[in-house]
């Protein structure tokens, strides 16, 4: 009995971790953009773009080369991240250089990514779907032999999990322990003060948005590899879920990490309800679990509006004339 429960928990966790990592990475990307002062609701579109390019590369590598599967995945991740970064440049250009409405240009990117994904996939492959079906899970040598912990973290794991954890640590260090991080945050909170101290606000904001594109594109590949096993012209609203995560986490990487576990758990409960025995027993419609993260975010917004930790200059184009 105890063994059954343990296996159940292990299987739930093995579903939760990849979803959590994908969400967290994209939210951390959004963090960079928003801490530098640029709203980025294009996360969804950038994820689609990254996932799309990543899926094409992966499809090619899997079918035509004898490369080791994890190496193929790694190359696809790089491709997705780079394409996400290039794609986010359009948002950066419009919202920083052209000082245009950040919501509008991001909406354009979302729409563009979705339609280009479908258009190219259907033109090239004949249908919307790009198959990258394969088993990407692997056991880490030696470490997977550790009892309990090995079962939870190191057996049948995804490459993305470890990359994600490394990125989380790197993000915390970069944001809080480096000169670059300090400057980036200052551009989001008080760009005029930052400018008066010699920080190039425009360049910092470009860096913020481009890094967010990099991470969101990477997150798109994570999503394709670890959650869906195929690319199907959208990322099931994961980009907006990551935005919700960013806001619920109050623009702090540590909180984002904690809340991403919660969001991922809800998502897994909703989408894998038929394959996890423990959840089948509870008779609650899965839609409720899908809704909860968004409702939670609205509640967080409503009740923390007075003490909100949002970057103070978020969404305002930097205008030297306003000094």
């Amino acid at each position: 009995m105890i063994v059954d429960v343990f296996n159940e928990i292990v299987s739930v966790i093995s579903y939760v971790i990849p979803v959590m990592i994908a969400l967290m990475i994209v939210a951390l990307g959004g963090l960079f953009s928003e801490r530098s002062g640029t709203i980025n609701i294009a996360l969804e579109g950038i994820m689609v773009m990254g996932g799309f390019i990543g899926a094409i590369v992966l499809h090619y590598l899997l079918n035509n080369t004898g490369l080791h599967i994890q190496i193929s995945v790694f190359i696809a991740m790089i491709a997705g991240a780079v394409s996400g970064m290039l794609f986010s440049f359009f948002h950066a250009f419009a919202s920083i250089r052209m000082k245009s409405n950040q919501i509008i240009s991001a909406t354009a990117l979302n729409l563009f990514a979705a339609s280009v994904g479908v258009f190219v996939a259907r033109t090239v492959f004949g249908y919307r779907r790009i198959n990258v079906d394969s088993s990407y899970r692997f056991d880490v040598a030696v470490l997977s032999e550790i009892p309990i912990l090995g079962d939870l973290l190191f057996s049948s794991a995804f490459l993305s999990t470890y990359i994600g954890i490394i990125i989380l640590i790197a993000v915390i260090i970069i944001l809080y322990k480096t000169r670059f991080g300090l400057r980036l945050r200052s551009c989001g909170d008080n760009p005029h003060a930052a400018d008066s101290l010699g920080v190039d606000v425009g360049r910092m904001r470009y860096a913020g948005v481009l890094i967010s594109g990099l991470l969101a594109g990477l997150g798109g590949v994570f999503f394709v590899v670890a959650f869906q096993n195929r690319f199907e012209s959208d990322v099931r609203g994961f980009g907006f879920l990551a935005l919700a995560l960013l806001i619920s986490g109050q623009w702090r990487p540590q909180r984002i990490f904690v809340i991403s576990i919660l969001f991922a758990l809800m998502r897994v409960v909703a989408s894998r309800s038929d394959s996890i025995m423990g959840i089948q027993a509870i008779d609650i419609p899965t839609e409720i679990f899908r809704m909860l993260p968004y409702i939670l975010t609205i509640l967080v917004l409503a009740f923390t509006s007075k003490t909100s930790k949002a970057p103070e200059a978020l969404g305002e184009p930097y205008d030297t004339g306003k000094r």
Partner: protein
């Protein structure tokens, strides 16, 4: 050279025959000819024409007329905005054309013409269909534009539309005792539901100062899952995995329109939309209430200082915007052959509405025209399906939105050009409809 080229495009050969032919057998030289040669020819012809005609009497007259136009639009800054909208459309279409050239150069010309001339492919029938497809888009565009005019960004039209659609279909399926008023009640129900859904971000904005965009995005997703749940629970057709269709008494009537536009899907939704356009104009420009809404949008604190109830007004303007989007939901789903499906992502009409509102410069008539334009190229995409996938239309729309976002820049460019030609400084003035 050829071998190097083959090495470069080698990766593309993997996607099977179709891709192979697609990328490898592109007649690149021909493509260059298609693209560059006509452009060069056109440019040369224009230069020659300018030289030839510019010197003649006719040319001078033409130049004078053009200068007159520029002078006139220099005095009327709105014309510059219209010009920037048109420019966005031109850029969007141009981008679409280039994409078509890359995919299949040989049929790009005919495909492009098909998309532009969409509504006239089947005579009156496709004109009717164009109007039919434009109706929900115009309404969501009006919803977004209304919020814009009152200083709010309604990115949640998608969710409001969807909630409205559910209520409309629910009434359409269940309340068949209503007889001839069935569709009226269903539409009103949709408006109420959309209004309630729009009121949530409005209330949060007014009383908790939460950004309405974020709340609306979250509500878009909540609406999908809520409607999925409600459809499954109340009006589900399990064999086809979609909602039941409304009773025929709940369908929006076609009246005499089916005689004018035979075999098309058009219904009196267009008259309802025209009424909405008219009411929008009257409410915002001719009533005290509308004046207050706009004032609050321009400067919340100043409006409060002037004695206006700014919290009530913010809530009301989101509520009204929501009700228009809800009506769009009724117009979309209270027709034969359209069913609410179990969705994963928000309905795209809500986001297209943003594009339409931007293109129409948030003015009711502008939104009407922009919406009809969208309906037209949407139909065009449908007819061009044999040549290109119809998603090409969405690509075009996305590029148009992007250039609308840059409209502030294009307006400055146009103003600069006019300044240079007329040698007069013109001031771009920010008007209330501007969200840039």
């Amino acid at each position: 050279m050829k071998r190097i080229w083959e090495k470069i495009i080698h990766p593309f050969k993997v996607f099977g025959r179709k891709t192979h032919t697609l990328f490898a057998n592109i007649p690149w030289r021909k493509l260059a000819g298609w693209l560059l040669y006509p452009l060069a020819l056109l440019f040369g012809a224009l230069v020659a024409l300018k030289r030839k005609i510019g010197a003649t009497r006719f040319g001078k007259r033409l130049d004078k007329a053009w200068l007159k136009v520029l002078h006139w639009s220099g005095e009327k800054p709105e014309t510059i905005k219209v010009a920037s909208s048109l420019l966005a459309v031109v850029f969007g279409l141009l981008f679409g054309f280039i994409v078509m050239l890359v995919v299949d150069p040989s049929s790009a010309g005919s495909g492009f013409l098909t998309i532009i001339l969409g509504p006239f492919q089947q005579g009156m029938r496709s004109v009717g269909d164009t109007i039919f497809y434009a109706v929900p888009i115009i309404l969501t565009g009006l919803s977004v534009a209304f919020a814009f005019r009152t200083g709010l960004f309604n990115i949640g039209a998608s969710g409001q539309l969807y909630v409205g659609a559910f209520v409309a279909v629910y009434i359409g399926v269940q309340w068949d005792f209503l007889g001839p008023f069935h569709w009226v009640v269903a539409s009103l129900g949709a408006m109420l539901a959309g209004a309630a859904w729009g009121a949530i971000p409005g209330l949060l904005k007014a009383f908790r100062n939460v950004h309405e965009v974020v709340v609306s995005i979250m509500l878009n997703y909540v609406s999908i899952y809520l409607v999925n749940l409600a459809v499954r629970s109340f009006i589900f057709n399990p064999t086809l995995n979609r909602a039941l269709g409304p009773e025929s008494s709940a369908h929006i009537p076609t009246l005499f329109l089916e005689n004018i536009f035979p075999r098309s899907s058009i219904n009196i939704g267009i008259f309802i939309t025209l009424a909405a356009v008219f009411l929008f104009h009257i409410l915002l420009n001719r009533t005290v209430f509308g004046y207050e809404l706009k004032s609050v949008g321009l400067n919340r604190d100043a409006a409060r200082y002037a004695g206006m109830k700014e919290k009530r007004n913010i809530t009301l303007s989101m509520t009204i915007a929501g009700s228009i989007a809800g009506l769009a939901g009724a117009m979309m789903y209270l027709v034969p052959g359209t069913y609410i499906r179990i969705l994963d992502v928000p309905v795209e009409q809500g986001f297209t509405g943003i594009a339409i509102a931007l293109l129409g410069l948030s003015a009711p008539v502008g939104v009407l025209i922009a919406g009809l334009f969208y309906g037209a190229i949407n139909r065009g995409g449908y007819f061009a399906q044999s040549l290109y996938r119809e998603e090409i239309v969405n690509v075009i729309i996305a590029v148009i939105i992007y250039f609308s976002a840059l409209s502030l820049f294009t307006q400055q460019m146009i103003a600069k050009y006019i300044n240079r030609r007329t040698k007069k400084e013109i001031q771009l003035k920010e008007s209330e409809g501007d969200v840039g």
